[in-house]
Amino acid sequence: MSEPAELSCKEAARLMSRQRDAALTPDEQASLKYHLFDCLNCRHFDKQLDFLSRLARRYGDTGPPAAEDPV
């Protein structure tokens, strides 16, 4: 197998997003993995996308918690 293509953060971000909507090709997966291994900022981005999904899901399931009682 050839070396995975080197991605910019911009390309990696696009793949991280698409991964949540459709399957990536094996080449895309390899390139993304390779990029993430090296790039802390993109690992932050990936985590934040996960969080955004959880937030959206929670928003649809129960909504926000009731406002806290003033202490």
């Binding site: 900022n41 985590k47 909504g63």
Partner: protein, 202 residues
């Protein structure tokens, strides 16, 4: 089964009415995502809330109130679409607004070589944010800033959990167009939450 109306004192009913009301803005977004028309969506939400309040005894408390209200709304939307299709031969597609059309905006997130610029750090305690009502207010305001079609696609995908293929079909757009819109929504929401919550320290 005795309805809550019989077993609950009036102030409990009033509290429940108030609680139902807190879900209105979510339900409205849900209806807009399906109907693409704000006025129609408002009408359907109103019908759904009235039906919910009449049938409050049917809320068994096994699911969340929001889930229960959403299920009523779904029936009302289907009902409404049937009625509309009867009235008009075909639903005119909502005019597609130009999608905020600021191609520059996404470019500015990166430097010339495509690296994040400025770089950003990890969010502090995102799970804690999920326990705060104000954070959800920020989230709603951030969704409101998206172009309408982008917001609708994001809502269907991430809030309602609809399959991307089905969304594209419904919106009559190509899969790649759909991905672009979703990516744009996520980037914009990330920025907006970052700026309005996480950077401010919550």
């Amino acid at each position: 089964m005795a309805g809550l109306k019989e077993i609950n004192p009036p102030d409990r009913i009033a509290a429940l009415y108030a609680e139902v009301e807190t879900h209105r803005s979510y339900l409205l977004r849900f209806a807009i995502a399906r109907l693409r028309d704000r006025e129609q969506a408002e009408e359907v939400v109103q019908e759904a809330l009235l039906a919910a309040l009449e049938g409050v005894g049917g809320f068994a408390g096994q699911s969340s109130l929001r889930t229960w209200l959403t299920s009523i709304l779904k029936f009302k939307i289907i009902d409404f679409q049937r009625r509309i299709i009867g009235e008009r031969a075909q639903l005119a597609a909502a005019p597609e607004e130009n999608d905020g059309a600021d191609p520059e905006w996404m470019e500015r997130l990166y430097d010339a070589s495509g690296h994040w610029n400025p770089a950003f750090g990890e969010w502090a305690n995102p799970d804690g944010a999920l326990e705060q009502k104000q954070f959800f207010d920020v989230f709603e305001r951030c969704m409101d800033k998206l172009p309408a079609a982008t917001a609708r696609v994001f809502f269907q995908r991430e809030v309602m959990g609809i399959d991307t293929g089905d969304i594209c079909k419904e919106e009559a757009i190509s899969a790649s167009n759909c991905w672009v819109m979703l990516h744009r929504a996520r980037l914009a929401l990330r920025e907006c939450l970052d700026r309005n919550w996480f950077q401010g320290g919550g």
